[in-house]
């Protein structure tokens, strides 16, 4: 596609951002999230209900005639920016983007509409670290039932329906009550992983797994960049705010040139990430023939920026940044986990080597 991507935000997108930010301010304040992630229910299902059902945002990627809102990845990306800013423990990326994209590739409109309504949460049972096109584990389909164990499944603990690739090449839907979902202590407290074990669970065949999984993971990777952007933007903004206020040596710490330069460099990285993330969201939204490159660039760029932003925030907060009480650790853990999710920056660079013909020796 030769037309230029639209890298700006529309007025409607800004209004959506403001509404999501308001909702998260009410539901997902930092102290609340810190307390919640150590409880038995780390996910904030009340916030999910308000966002997904109340505002109807779980169905952004689903056409209206299939039970959704008929919006695009551009709007979903704005929602994810705000979720990233709040490190909100909501299964939006995993259910409203990744599982939804997998269903969009299949003929299962009843399930799709349920996910789009926000009344049910879906999870694609592919390990979070797998990039689009990467190898993933499958369960065994035997005598009409599914058997096996899949590890590293993000947000599976709150999923009502699991989408599982099986060894016959099919993608199956399994009701979560028919599977054993075991939460694992996870680096990212706000997007915890679980192991899914099936012992003769009944499954409903949705379609071919390979194209559905590839499509789902590509969209997940592309929109993850917007979540990383929101995360990086919050850590920069909060660090700047704190350094204007924090005084040592009888002056605001933010007046020391060594720190000013680090923050200015970080700002530049975030500005670049915004362009790369908008480009990926716009490519996905417009079905551009540049999607693969746009997604790979956004992911290869986003991961180091988000990690750098969170690491700088921790260091520049000094001792307070090292405490459990201060939320910066949630951002660091999310950023570091995001650097692996849907493929590392290195995996996306390898993909680019093929896509733009800069091949390995």
């Amino acid at each position: 596609m030769s037309t230029q991507p639209d890298l700006l935000y529309t007025e409607e997108e800004e209004a959506l951002r403001a509404a999501v930010r308001d909702l998260l301010a009410d539901h997902c304040d930092a102290a609340g999230v810190i307390a919640r992630v150590e409880s038995d229910a780390p996910h904030d299902l009340a916030a999910w209900k308000a966002l997904a059902e109340g505002m109807g945002l779980a169905g952004l990627l689903v056409p209206e005639d299939r039970g959704g809102q008929g919006a695009t990845h551009r709007e979903a990306a704005v929602v994810l920016e705000e979720l990233g800013r709040a490190v909100a423990p909501l299964p939006y990326l995993t259910s409203a983007v990744v599982a939804t994209e997998a269903l969009l590739a299949c003929a299962a409109d009843d399930l799709l509409a349920e996910l789009a309504s926000g009344r049910r949460i879906g999870a694609l049972a592919v390990a979070l670290n797998v990039p689009a096109g990467g190898a993933y584990k499958v369960v065994r389909f035997e005598d009409g039932a599914l058997h096996g164990e899949l590890t590293g499944i993000a947000d599976a603990a709150v999923a009502d329906v699991l989408l599982l690739p099986a060894d016959d090449g099919g993608l199956y839907a399994v009701d979560a009550s028919a599977a054993t979902v075991t939460p694992r202590p996870s680096l990212d407290l706000t997007r915890p992983l679980a192991t899914v074990t099936l012992d003769g669970a009944p499954g409903r065949l949705l379609g071919d797994a390979e194209p559905a999984v590839r499509r789902a993971l590509r969209a997940g990777a592309g929109l993850l960049a917007s979540e990383q952007l929101g995360l990086a933007d919050w850590t920069l903004t909060e660090t700047v705010r704190y350094l204007k206020e924090r005084k040592q040596f009888n002056r605001p710490v933010g007046g020391f040139q060594a720190l000013k330069h680090r923050l200015a460099q970080l700002w530049l990285e975030v500005v670049n990430l915004r362009a790369a993330a908008r480009n990926a969201a716009d490519a996905l939204a417009t079905c551009s023939d540049d999607i693969d490159v746009a997604v790979a660039v956004a992911q290869a760029f986003a991961a180091p920026v988000a990690v750098h932003a969170a690491e700088e925030a921790l260091q520049l907060h000094g001792g307070i940044g090292m405490t459990w009480e201060h939320p910066v650790h949630l951002y660091l853990k999310r950023a570091k986990a995001d650097a692996i999710a849907y493929g590392t920056a290195g995996a996306h660079r390898e993909a680019l080597a093929e896509l733009v013909d800069l091949r390995a020796p």
């Binding site: 605001p252 330069h261 530049l268 670049n272 290195g346 680019l352």
Partner: protein, 394 residues
């Protein structure tokens, strides 16, 4: 309101009255200026029609399609990008009418006499003196440096100190200086690439009539901000296709010369390719913001990004070329009229790009600007603000 259709009509009329094939280049350019199609956002009578700046592309496309000559903008970049907007903003009607037309047609090349050996990042500390004569004109003495095009320029924009007894920002005045004055001596300043793209300019008893003062006496710093802001816009505002910048040549070399590839270089190349693409998208986003009338602060960052990328990418290409990277195309001392950062070979690009983080504001100063003006962090301590220029440490 002049819209795109009106501009097309006027462009067609210009082409009909002055068919490019049968018209002298300079005659065509003058006619284009007089038709208001030179820079459509300028006022009528000064080469424009008071139209939105974004519509210039309409005119340019029509003229290019008709094979019309252009004004070779790269040769007169300082005039177009820096002198013209400043003259437009601060010049008298007479000055605007006298200088803008030959500036735009390229008949008169301009250079910029700002930096001095003792006033680089701290430009406002400049010491070139302009003293008023009994007749009200000015006599200028001093030395300027890093002056590109000085050896071909007819005119210069010049800032000089007219009052040493007030703090440094207040005692500066802005002039239009005749480069053919006998008191002007231009010496090439050879740089690390071997050539002399820049000059040193020595001013000895240069007489400038008061009619060539731009803005009020003592207002030169404010006037110069217009010049410098336009310089940064010009540096950061380009529109590039993918691989359109420094990443282009090294990517082509990589594709064409598989025998040069190593795993280490591959990782570094891909990382830089991604960063270059992100910077390109950021520049495109900035452009879209400007078109939409929402200028953002991102412009300040683009020069920072491109300076670092140009340096790292060209450095990588020197390494990639192996034995060839040990050679250099030509150390001959020359005085080029045009500068092409992406031109010549990798060694030249590597050395020339070292200037990208110095010229037009050093990376260190720009980081301060971003930190203070964009992020609102406390400014650097300024011990020189309230001290008379003559009492500053030198």
């Amino acid at each position: 309101m002049t819209d795109a259709a009106e501009l097309r009509r006027r462009t067609a009329a210009l082409l009909a009255a002055h068919p490019p094939a049968g018209t002298e280049r300079l005659d065509f350019l003058r006619a284009r200026f007089d038709a208001g199609l030179a820079w459509v956002h300028y006022p009528e009578g000064l080469g424009g029609l008071g139209a939105p700046r974004s519509l210039q592309a309409v005119v340019d496309a029509e003229l290019e399609a008709a094979g019309a000559p252009d004004n070779d903008p790269r040769r007169i970049g300082i005039g177009l990008g820096m002198a013209a907007p400043t003259i437009l903003a601060y010049g008298t009607e007479e000055q605007k009418r006298r200088y803008l037309r030959p500036l735009w047609t390229g008949e008169e090349v301009w250079c910029q006499l700002f930096s001095e050996p003792g006033a680089g990042s701290d430009l406002a500390a400049l010491g070139t003196r302009a003293v008023r004569t009994g007749e009200g004109d000015w006599v200028v003495n001093g030395q300027k440096v890093w002056t590109s095009s000085a050896h071909v320029a007819r005119w210069a924009i010049l800032i000089a100190r007219t009052d040493p007894d007030v703090p440094k920002h207040q005692g500066i005045t802005y002039f239009l200086c005749d480069m053919t004055d006998p008191g002007i001596e231009v010496r090439p300043l050879r740089q690390i690439t071997g050539e002399a793209e820049f000059n040193e300019v020595f001013l000895t008893d240069v007489r400038i009539p008061d009619s060539r003062r731009l803005g009020d006496v003592g207002d030169g710093w404010k006037v110069a901000q217009t010049t410098l802001n336009n310089e940064r816009v010009a540096i950061g505002g380009m529109r590039l296709p993918r691989e359109g910048g420094m990443i282009g040549p090294v990517s082509r070399t990589w594709r064409e010369r598989p025998e040069l590839r190593t795993h280490d270089l591959h990782q570094r190349l891909l990382t830089l390719w991604v960063e270059a693409e992100a910077a390109r998208l950021t520049a495109e986003r900035l452009r879209q913001q400007l078109v939409a009338g929402q200028p953002g602060p991102e412009g300040a960052g683009m020069k920072l990004a491109f300076a670092r990328l140009n340096q790292e990418i060209s450095g990588l290409e020197v390494e990639l070329r192996g034995e060839e990277g040990l050679l250099y195309d030509d150390w001959t001392m020359r005085r080029p009229e045009l500068v092409d950062f992406v031109g010549r070979d990798a060694g030249y690009r590597y050395l020339r790009s070292k200037g990208n983080s110095i010229e037009g504001g050093t990376t260190e100063v720009l980081l301060n600007i971003v930190a203070e003006r964009v992020l609102g962090l406390p400014p650097e301590a300024r011990t020189d603000k309230d001290v008379a220029w003559k009492d500053l440490a030198r």
